[in-house]
């Protein structure tokens, strides 16, 4: 792992191996919340924030688990930590920024079952990232997720005005669009491997 600099990890998780378009993590919110640009942006930011928090928690937790040789509890403890992190974010947001809390509504608790968050925690453990590397990884993943959501919502807002055949309306068309976006993101493939 010679080229695992912080910038490379960030770039890799943001665009080269984009969480949504290349690794298929977090497809549910990607298809569900990408109808409008505004909600897509708030959802992306909230998810990024939870990613950052749960990445830090998962790093600390893993140290404890490895110390006591209890790696088999990894999955259960990670998901518990993520669920409580989401709960904390929800409570903090309700207290300090009620407007944003109302804007996000139901999407906030649903971040718990977003596989991008748990996937992030599992990947950083699997790849033995250091603390700084984990932070870069989480930041990159958040940026990548927000980017994918924004791109998709922009396209779908345009599509509302387009005249598409009846059969292609709804999810089928969104998936085709996502496929094309994913093809475009494959263009980042060689980046960073100079």
């Amino acid at each position: 792992m010679h080229n695992e600099s912080l910038t490379f990890i960030f770039l890799q998780s943001a665009v080269i191996n984009n969480f949504v378009l290349a690794m298929f993590l977090g497809i549910c919110p990607f298809l569900g919340v990408s109808g409008r640009v505004n909600t897509a942006l708030s959802m992306g930011l909230a998810t990024s924030f939870v990613m950052l928090i749960s990445s830090i928690c998962a790093f600390g937790l893993n140290l404890i688990l490895v110390h006591y040789h209890m790696e088999f509890l990894q999955l259960i403890s990670y998901i518990a930590v993520i669920a409580s992190a989401v709960q904390l974010v929800e409570m903090a947001m309700k207290k300090f920024s009620p407007a944003l809390f109302r804007a996000l509504g139901i999407y906030l608790p649903l971040i718990t079952t977003n596989c991008a968050v748990l996937g992030l925690a599992l990947f950083q453990t699997m790849r033995h990232y250091s603390f700084a590397q984990s932070l870069a990884f989480a930041l990159g993943a958040g940026v990548g997720f927000t980017l994918a959501l924004l791109l998709m919502s922009g396209l779908r807002e345009r599509l509302l005005l387009a005249n598409v055949p009846n059969v292609a309306q709804g999810a089928a068309l969104s998936l085709m669009l996502a496929g094309i976006l994913s093809l475009a993101f494959m263009g980042f493939g060689g980046l960073g491997s100079l």
Binding site: M23, G26, L31, I79, F123, A178, S182
Partner: protein
């Protein structure tokens, strides 16, 4: 609690396979659907693992449905599901290490598959153990069926094989993009188009019959 229908018939099982297919109709559990279907074998293993977790967690949630306090039910369900996923993950690592290596993190990610939590919340917590198990088995079968649909198409087009068996002569030029991420989106989109088209045909045939009946 409302008195619920306690009869078990074929419909309890079949609705998960066809009418309420988790992937094609309810659009749940998209992440594993797209990520692990680059070959039919992977799709089958993933489908069976998910079905196992569905059935076991459905049974346990249904057994404990009067004991779990309402306020912490979601957390309890998640812990139950995570336990079974850990079992599946360790069994796969022990008996099928090659497949585990390919599926990788997606075995662990069964925990956050919305189908399982959705069934626990919407069905197992309200129905008897036997009904929950039958329904979960149907959902699992439907999920496996959907994964196989995708996996088979992507494997045939992308590498010219099915379950690792070569189907074409050596001149076959694999359509590489089908086993890469964009292929997953395209094939699932294609299946949805096909089902929409079929549904529309059935619907329009229905209205046509009605109209002719009225005209007569």
């Amino acid at each position: 609690m409302k008195t619920t229908d306690t009869t078990i018939d074929f419909g309890t099982f079949w609705e998960g396979v066809w009418k309420e297919n988790p992937v094609f109709v309810m659009m749940l559990g998209m992440c594993p659907t797209l990520a692990v279907t680059s070959s039919a074998t992977n799709a089958l293993v993933m489908g069976v693992s998910t079905a196992f977790v569905l059935v076991c967690s459905g049974a346990l949630v249904s057994m404990l449905r009067y004991l779990i306090p309402k306020e912490v039910r979601i957390a309890t369900y998640i812990v139950i599901i995570a336990t079974f996923v850990t079992i599946v993950s360790y069994v796969l690592q022990a008996y099928a290490p090659e497949i585990y290596k390919v599926l990788g993190v997606f075995v662990d990610l069964i925990v956050v598959n919305c189908i399982i939590l959705g069934r626990a919340e919407a069905y197992a917590s309200k129905n008897s153990v036997l009904r929950s198990v039958v329904n979960a088995a149907g959902m699992g079968a439907g999920f496996t069926f959907a994964l196989l649909c995708l996996g088979a198409v992507r494997e045939i087009l992308g590498s010219g094989t099915l379950f690792g068996v070569h189907l074409f002569s050596a001149h076959f030029q694999p359509w590489l993009v089908m086993v890469l991420p964009p292929g997953g989106f395209f094939v699932l989109g294609g299946w949805l188009l096909l089902f929409n088209w079929l549904k529309q045909r059935v619907a329009s045939a229905g209205t046509l019959q009605e109209e002719t009946a009225r005209a007569q």
